[in-house]
């Protein structure tokens, strides 16, 4: 997504662009696939940053649309119904109206009202979007900010799941961006899923004559005197370019360089990955009394966001029901989806041979569904009904994420070390995408745009 966005900006201003894609579909983490005639999105639970009435025109999503000259209306975005953060018996609900969320905080944590206001101010005063932002631990800031630790833990949950590359923490800049993106702006989804965003990007690139080479990976980037001189593909084809933008990740790009200045460090490797199981079921979610869009849950008072010891950990996770976005089309669907996402261990999945891999997927599907039903209204007593209504289940694992994103360890959000500016150790090689540290679909687009603008287009 960031690569396509960068390519589009460059082509728009007359640069000769070539897009190289390892996979046979575009999009990276924000991609799609088909099973039994049904289309599934890989990453997309929600497009964040929806310009809700309370956030006005400041939404980065509108910025991205403008820069890419894609009319915002053409995305056909529909807003969430209502979502929830649940920690045991404590629930904070939110929709795209910030005042509703604030009210939920104040009702659930009445003693924290003033402290929460101060915390909002602290975020306002913090220049999260600057390139040279200090690296601060959100967990320690939250611990200091509130008397009741649970409030901080509950805020960390959706923000981590929607964009933290670090385990058990987020840097405060990323947290602030995510907080704005999820709560101050809002969640929405294109009527036709992620392709509503990918298709116009690709179509525009095609119209401008930009060549895309699919299903062929970059094997190495040759360098000489600190400059990238040649790209070598898996099939031994070679390309040269004045500028190269790599969207395959920080560590992953360094590994492509023939002359590395520094070997990749362990602390540069992302560890957090997920498993997601999708149940396609007959009818509408409201047939089961489920009217919420996204539910972030945690079994404990303390939120753990880490690589589990076992293949998967269902004690915390995210449930998403795409048919609960307020798309009029969803009123008349005859089948719907329940998506359940839990932390997962890449190494465990990567070490499994095919029959064991499939068996472990099936085992996890059952465990994940069982747990998710505990967090859905009357989920437990409807277990059999839901099982009877289920038409198809599909599950992707950290191994699948690696296939789509090329991230080492199948790390959902890449390396915990971010390069905002997109600089690499090589002069004419820039990084875009996840490892720039901008978040989600909108972050991917804006990251690619920023690198194209600041590194290549902006006259010296």
């Amino acid at each position: 997504m960031s690569g396509l966005s960068a390519a589009l900006r460059l082509a728009m201003f007359g640069k000769n662009v070539l897009v190289l894609e390892k996979h046979y579909v575009v999009g990276g983490l924000n991609s799609f696939y088909a099973r039994k005639g049904r289309k599934f999105d890989v990453g997309l639970h929600a497009v964040t940053n929806f310009p809700s009435p309370s956030s006005g025109k400041t939404s980065p999503l509108l910025r991205a649309c403008r820069q890419l000259r894609i009319p915002f209306e053409s995305l056909n975005l529909y807003e969430q119904s209502r979502s929830r953060i649940s920690f045991e018996d404590k629930h904070i609900r939110f929709n795209n109206e910030f005042s509703f969320f604030l009210n939920e905080i104040y009702e659930n944590f009445p003693k924290e009202k003033d402290r929460f206001r101060n915390f909002l101010q602290k975020m306002e005063d913090f220049d999260a979007y600057s390139i040279n932002v200090p690296d601060l631990s959100t967990r320690s800031i939250l611990k200091e900010a509130f008397a009741e630790p649970l409030l901080g833990e509950m805020l960390l949950c959706p923000t981590s799941y929607y964009g933290s590359a670090q385990e058990n923490d987020i840097d405060f800049a990323t947290f602030t961006m995510l907080f704005d993106a999820i709560f101050k702006q809002g969640l929405a989804r294109p009527s036709h899923g992620i392709r509503a965003i990918l298709d116009p990007l690709v179509q525009k690139l095609d119209e401008m004559g930009v060549k895309r080479l699919m299903n062929n990976a970059v094997k190495k980037i040759k360098t000489y005197n600190g400059k990238a001189t040649e790209i070598v593909m898996d099939n031994e084809d070679t390309y040269t370019a004045d500028h190269i933008i790599s969207t395959c990740g920080l560590v992953e790009t360094e590994e492509l360089l023939t002359k590395k200045k520094t070997p990749p460090k362990e602390n540069k490797m992302g560890n957090f990955s997920v498993i997601e199981t999708i149940s396609v079921f007959k009818g509408k979610p409201t047939d089961f009394g489920w009217d919420e869009t996204v539910i972030f849950y945690n079994d404990d008072q303390e939120f753990r966001y880490e690589k589990p010891k076992e293949s998967m950990d269902s004690t915390s996770g995210v449930i998403c029901i795409p048919e609960n976005y307020q798309d009029p089309h969803n009123q008349k669907v005859d089948e719907s989806r329940l998506r359940i996402t839990n932390p997962a261990n890449f190494d465990k999945w990567d070490s499994l041979e095919e029959p064991a891999y499939i068996a472990e997927k099936a085992r996890c599907e059952t465990v994940m569904l069982q747990k998710a039903l505990e967090y859905l209204p009357k989920g437990q007593i409807q277990k059999k009904d839901f099982s009877d209504a289920t038409l198809l289940k599909d599950t992707f694992t950290p191994r699948t994420i690696k296939k789509y994103t090329n991230h080492a360890n199948g790390a959902l959000y890449g390396s915990p070390v971010k390069s905002r500016s997109g600089s690499s150790q090589i002069k004419n090689l820039y990084l875009a995408g996840t490892d720039q540290g901008y978040i989600g679909i909108v972050g991917a687009m804006l990251g690619g745009i920023a690198v194209a603008n600041n590194r290549i287009l902006r006259p010296a």
Binding site: R66, R458, P459
Partner: protein, 86 residues
Amino acid sequence: MNKDKVKQIVLDIISEIAPDEDLSDVKPEIRLRDQLDLDSMDFLDIVMELRKQHGIDVPEAEYRQLESLDSCGNYLLPKFEAGAAA
């Protein structure tokens, strides 16, 4: 070429890069930023469109000359004329 034509060219570019903005009542003497929702990324696009469509270069140090339609007219007119003469 005259200043009004230059202003119209700038307005046409703005309507391309920010189709959601209402340009029917833009005051030429007031800063564009103060009456339209334009940020630095948008100004970069105006500069790049001037170069792409009209071959006019605006160095980064002189972006401020584009702050209002009037200043655009004053600053860009000689550049358009130089381009036409060349």
